[in-house]
Amino acid sequence: MLRLEKLTKTYKTGDQALKSVDLDIPEGQVLALIGPSGAGKSTLIRCINRLVEPTSGQVFLGGTELTHLSAGALRRERRRMGMIFQEYALVERLTVMENVLSGRLGYVGFWRSFLRRFPQPDVDEAFRLLDRVGLLAMADKRADELSGGQRQRVGICRALIQNPAVLLVDEPTASLDPKTSRQIMRLICELCRERGLAAIINIHDVALAQMFVQRVIGLRFGAIEFDGPPKDLTPDVLTTIYGEEDWEATIETVEDDEDIEAAE
């Protein structure tokens, strides 16, 4: 469904953020991308929808190759890739509803969007999504009035209303408390399952990733070091990805967490 071939990104400064990454993601698979800061996780995600231009290599979404598309064709393909951001990236001075509807910008013309006269099905879908994430009452609030968890839910709605085939999720829980982090991760994974969406989730919190995803990719210095199911993440594997540290505690917490979840 989404396939990366020899994807490479070298920044002008000479830093190699990605070194010939190959990756194949089947339809409906939720994948966590872990690795230390600076390993190239954000770059990888942004090279897919070309917010960052890859230096070389190819990206296939369905049958379409993305790295050589013209500006117009790229916009059409971006509609099929919903993105969820670290720190939410809502336009703070717009209302919640405008933020959600901005996910439809790729589908409506300029004057329609300028006058905020979106097609009725879009508006209905926006309300349905806001209701799904429990924020229907907030529709006319300004985005900067919301709490962190609420903002991220709006960000999720904005990505989903694009009716995407794949979700690109960049550190969705980076600035959230542990409980909200779990709720957000659970919400993202549930929605992916409901809609059969594939997703790449960049995430720092290894334990949280293990809890929710089917497959984990470990990135180190721009190259894939690990690719497998969450249960294969042993202390040895984490040491190759992150470097020497006492990993037992991290992995044990996961099991504890799962017990608690089950008890709940």
Binding site: R75, E77, F85, E92, L94, L105
Partner: protein, 270 residues
């Protein structure tokens, strides 16, 4: 605790000086003081002339205690109306032209050739002082408010485009990036990702420019570009300091009213 830390503890701390090399620091300071002294010594004051001038100055200041709004009220009214029309028209036109130029002059929104062209326009508009532009335009279009209106529009472009462009350049990149990721076209991206972020600043700057344009319109009259300045100039020429005082008081009141209005509007749009 390591020895390095031990050695530092108990010692005082001073902020490192801005210029590290002490000889350069003192040389610059000495040079500055020498320049200051030399500059003051070159000021040539003719004290006898100042003594005579004080009398005229006194008359002018005293005129403020008895401003004459009445005897030239017709001229004052016409001048004020002309100034206000000039100000509003020039501000509207100037702001409307400034916005696209500001977008072009923001490096994070416009490609390099457009950026350079727009920065060029801004540089020209800012390099030419209002009075010089007004003299030129009066020469082309003749005496009257048309020249004033064009001058103020031209000056507004340089001012507003520059400051707005800088605000666009310092906007939050991630918010704009999120809109771009949705597949929005350029115009939609500006409308949803950029405009909401810079709107308070645009409104604040526009109000401020309206205020400046009104004050400038009083100066432009001195070179024949119409408005209240023409009336003010005439009253000075006739030594009617009481009428001049009345006009100045009106200008001050209008500027204060604009200031107050701008405060209210900016508080509303935060």
């Amino acid at each position: 605790m390591n020895t390095e830390l031990q050695a530092i503890l108990g010692r005082g701390w001073k902020k490192p000086p801005l210029i590290k090399r002490p000889w350069l620091r003192w040389l610059l300071l000495a040079g500055f003081v020498a320049y200051l002294v030399a500059a003051f010594l070159t000021i040539d004051v003719n004290w006898a002339r100042v003594y005579e001038g004080l009398e005229r100055g006194k008359q002018f200041v005293l005129a403020f205690t008895s401003p004459d709004f009445v005897s030239r009220s017709g001229d004052i009214w016409d001048g004020m109306v002309e100034s206000i029309i000039m100000t509003v028209a020039a501000s509207v036109v100037g702001i409307a032209i400034s916005i696209p130029i500001a977008l072009g002059a923001a490096r994070n929104v416009a490609p390099l050739p457009v950026y350079l062209a727009c920065r060029g326009i801004i540089a020209i508009s800012r390099a030419l002082q209002e009075i010089i532009v007004a003299i030129l335009l009066v020469a082309i279009f003749g005496f009257g408010p048309l020249a004033g209106f064009l001058t103020l529009s031209f000056a507004t472009i340089g001012f507003l485009s520059k400051l707005l462009a800088e605000d666009i350049e310092s906007m939050d990149r991630v918010q704009a990036e999120a809109i771009r990721a949705s597949g929005a076209r350029w115009s939609q991206w500006i409308n949803y990702g950029v405009q909401p972020q810079v709107m308070p600043r645009l409104i604040g700057l526009s109000m401020y420019r309206l205020d400046i344009n009104f004050r400038e319109s009083a100066i432009l009259g001195l070179v024949g570009a119409g408005g209240i300045g023409a009336t003010l100039n005439t009253s000075f020429d006739r030594y009617e300091y009481d009428t001049a005082a009345a006009i100045l008081i009106l200008i001050i009141l209008i500027v204060m009213a604009l200031e107050y209005l701008s405060g209210i509007i900016r508080a509303r749009v935060q």
